[in-house]
């Protein structure tokens, strides 16, 4: 419990729990099985993409291009399945590989190897990937029909919707990498103090390239889920994804400056946004109120976090013996 309180996302977690209690008292259907499933499955794309963005932000960077990457790899998924005629499993693997390679080669090499600004590079790739998406699809939406994808989006296993299994698997793999691999710890070192990491013999450029490749790969996995949900590959998807994902990661306590936070916090952040949206929709609140409330809470959470850390700073001298 103490370890939980010390987490940076603790405040958001408390608000989330209060929110769940409030909605479940005011709306009888809120805690019903179908509604819980709806909250989770409608968050699946945001969830998966935010995991990748968490790693990028832990490394001290940012990836503006995830929304365009989602659209581009979504079109890629349709092409692999319809035009290239790949079996669905291979098409999924090819899609994820496409995302990882583009993320690693374009964003990763320019940021990690050449040391260019992540804002400039990913802003460029945001526009580039969107352009490629429109070029490849001729700005047209194409049907993507496969029984497997249909089951992936709408089927259940052991009574739990399949998207939830995908979300859980993504989270657990990312948590393992973050916590129990060298690479995961290197991300924290690079994000916390790039110079010290380099002087410790950590290959900082390799770490950064991998981080952006993962971000691209997970955006592609999110694209697979997206195609499966709507049964089509659309060039218009994902335009607001990066804003929601950034909000989820920041609410989850990962610092913009890098080196602090993690994927567990991002889970809290994604659920927070999902519950808020669902609760307000079920209550019939207009969508602009959702935006206003989400924005206020995001600013509030970050201010609170800042105040908290200031407090720790003030107390710190006493802790030194």
């Amino acid at each position: 419990m103490r370890a939980l309180i010390r987490q940076r996302f603790f405040v958001v977690l408390v608000v989330l729990v209060l929110m769940i209690i409030f909605f479940s008292i005011t709306q009888e259907k809120f805690l019903s099985g179908p509604n819980i499933s709806a909250i989770l499955t409608s968050s699946s794309i945001l969830w998966i993409a935010s995991m990748g963005l968490t790693f990028v932000m832990l490394s001290g960077g940012f990836d503006l291009s995830i929304g365009s990457m989602l659209a581009l790899t979504g079109i890629g998924m349709g092409w692999f399945l319809n035009e290239a005629g790949l079996p669905v499993a291979l098409a999924i693997i090819a899609t994820i590989a496409l995302g990882a390679i583009l993320g690693g080669l374009v964003n990763g090499i320019l940021i990690g190897k050449l040391g260019l600004s992540f804002l400039v590079v990913t802003l460029g790739s945001l526009i580039l990937f969107r352009g490629l998406t429109n070029f490849w699809s001729q700005s047209k939406t194409t049907q993507v029909i496969s029984p497997f994808l249909d089951a992936l989006a709408y089927g259940s296993t052991f009574g739990v919707p399949n998207p939830v299994w995908v979300m859980l698997a993504t989270y657990l793999v990312m948590l393992y990498v973050q916590k129990y691999t060298f690479f995961g710890r290197d991300i924290y070192a690079v994000g916390g103090n790039m110079e010290a990491a380099r002087l410790s013999g950590i290959r900082t450029s390799r770490t950064l390239i991998a981080v952006y490749a993962i971000s691209g790969g997970l955006a592609a996995l999110a694209a697979v889920m997206q195609d499966a949900r709507i049964g089509a590959a659309s060039p218009q998807v994902g335009e607001n994804l990066v804003f929601s994902a950034a909000a989820a990661v920041l609410l989850g306590g990962t610092a913009f400056s890098g080196g602090v936070g993690g994927v567990s916090g991002t889970v809290v952040g994604v659920l927070f946004l999902g519950v808020l949206q669902n609760g307000l929709s079920v209550a019939g609140v207009e969508s602009y109120w959702q935006q206003i409330i989400t924005g206020l809470i995001l600013i509030g959470a970050i201010t609170l976090d800042y105040a908290q850390r200031k407090g720790i700073r003030f107390r710190r001298p006493a802790a030194i013996s």
Binding site: F182, G192, A196, R198, L199, G201, R316
Partner: protein, 505 residues
């Protein structure tokens, strides 16, 4: 904008009485008096750690004194921030650059002053004219439209000084102003200082170069261990007396063991090393199992020299041999593969990831050297850290405590553990006890000497001479980027080393 009091040379313009300041348990100032008269150049001398910087920081209100009082024209004042001292006419130029590199020389000089304004906005011509006028006083004929980033370091330093004198200043504090200046730039500076003195401005001058102090100062105050040892007109002093006052009679408090490793066989040889604007033509060799010190005063190039040994300056020139084999140490991981470890001088910037735990910091280098095992916390590395915590008496709540919570001395010991854990043959350290209290200092010395016992060769750069005398078997003394001499410990004392480092003789 400043206190317009008549310049009376018999009443000090600025006076400090019984200033005290301590950091943690360390007393940096133990009741220091200081007087500064209008129209004098006052040299402030003292070794690193004597309390010079603390005194300056209090006078310019960068920090607050614990006890004591400050007077301007004998009226008590208590400045709360550098802005207040500045508006009282007290300007400071430190070694830290405070210019905005992207802005022009003119804008930098006038930064912070009310810019000449016209109805439609800033009067750029007026700003430029005023800046040109001030720079002319320093004999700087640079085009004032040049961005500061394009200036050589010496010129930038002069711009910094120009900014300090651009207001109507009564006191100008110059902390090591000449360390990055060429000879002709020093002359320009000194003639400008002479002019300011004639106008009744009081100047505090700090330099490690004895010749400069005697060339320009009217009075001298010597500090040692946070106390004022002596103060008086320059005529009462000789360079020898200043050095003697700086050192005091008693010898350094720490005695290294009397064990002495005789230089027998070289493990690493350095021939004709150079780095642009930092050091040149530096040759020496590091003996098997010896502790070799690199002494130098601020700006002598000793820090950059040891950084080059760890590959931090890939554009160094000259030859390096390890075990008789030529090696190119152009990046840290190559240096690590040669079994070289490096404890950097700035542990917060270069050494530690402050938000990460004691354990993760301590194993960071040894694990990355070993390559990618699956388990990022190999049990032997963890055991090693536990052993270090015990042996080096590192005070930490647990292995998982973020290092930012530790005191400076304990952080430094974590950093030492991190690098000793890589089992190096050559351990390179830059300022190993910077910002560390006295108790932790002697523990760090003990740790280092214990490594020598185990046969490790140690190269340590420091600007604290007593530290080198405690640790080292031989000492390479640097002066302005060149080797001034190499002395072995039995022939070395503080006096000899300081004279060499100051270029005196």
């Amino acid at each position: 904008m400043s206190a317009q009091a008549p310049a009376n040379p018999t009443v000090p313009f600025l006076r400090a009485e019984q200033l005290r300041k301590s950091y943690g348990g360390v007393q940096a100032l133990k009741g220091v008096d200081f007087e500064l008269y209008p129209g004098e150049v006052h040299g402030l001398c003292g070794e690193n750690g004597s309390g010079k910087s603390t005194l300056l920081k209090i006078l310019s209100a960068q920090i607050q004194t614990d006890a004591g009082a400050t007077f301007v024209n004998e009226a008590p004042v208590s400045f709360k921030s550098p802005v207040e001292t500045l508006s009282a006419g007290i300007a400071t130029v430190t070694q830290e650059r405070t210019l905005v590199p992207q802005l022009s020389v003119a804008e930098n000089v006038m930064l912070g002053h009310t810019k000449a304004r016209k109805l439609w906005g800033i009067d750029w011509r007026g700003t430029r004219d005023r800046a040109t006028e001030i720079l002319a006083k320093l004999n700087v004929v640079e085009d004032v439209n040049t961005p500061v980033s394009e200036l050589p370091p010496g010129q930038a330093q002069l711009v910094e000084i120009a900014r300090a004198i651009s207001g109507d200043m009564r006191v100008l504090i110059l902390d090591e102003p000449t360390s990055s200046l060429s000879t002709s730039e020093v002359e320009s500076l000194f003639s400008a200082v002479g002019r300011l003195r004639k106008h009744g401005v009081a100047i505090v001058f700090i330099s490690h170069r004895m010749a400069e102090v005697f060339e320009i100062c009217d009075r001298i105050t010597v500090l040692r261990d946070g106390e004022r040892v002596s103060s008086g007109p320059i005529g009462d002093y000789t360079p020898d007396k200043v050095v003697a006052d700086m050192l005091g009679r008693e010898l350094s408090a720490f005695h290294g063991d009397d064990e002495h490793v005789e230089y027998s066989q070289a493990i690493a040889e350095f021939e004709g090393l150079g780095l642009e604007r930092r050091f040149e033509d530096v040759s020496f060799s590091l003996g098997q199992g010896e502790v070799l010190g690199i002494a130098g005063l601020v700006g002598a190039g000793h820090s950059e020299l040891v950084e080059s040994v760890f590959g931090l300056h890939p554009d160094y020139t000259g030859a390096i041999k390890v075990h008789g084999q030529s090696v190119e140490l152009r990046d840290p991981s190559r240096a690590m593969r040669q079994k070289i470890a490096f404890v950097p001088g700035d542990r917060k910037v270069q050494g530690l990831v402050l938000d990460m735990s004691v354990l993760e910091n301590a194993i960071m280098a040894s694990t990355s050297l070993r390559g990618r095992a699956r388990n990022p916390r190999p049990s032997d590395a963890v055991d090693f850290v536990k052993k270090c915590i015990e042996q080096f008496s590192i005070v930490t709540h647990s292995l998982e405590t973020p290092v930012v919570r530790l005191s400076g001395g304990n952080q430094q010991k974590v950093l030492l553990s991190k690098w000793i854990g890589t089992e190096p043959e050559i351990l390179v350290l830059d300022e190993p006890t910077r910002g560390v209290d006295v108790g932790a200092k002697s523990e760090i010395y003990r740790i280092l000497l214990a490594q020598r016992e185990k046969g490790m060769s140690i190269l340590v750069s420091s600007s604290e001479v007593p530290e080198l005398l405690t640790l080292c078997d031989r000492i390479v003394v640097m002066h302005r980027g060149r080797v001034a001499g190499i002395v072995s410990r039995e022939h070395a004392d503080e006096d000899v080393i300081l004279r060499m480092a100051m270029g005196h003789e």
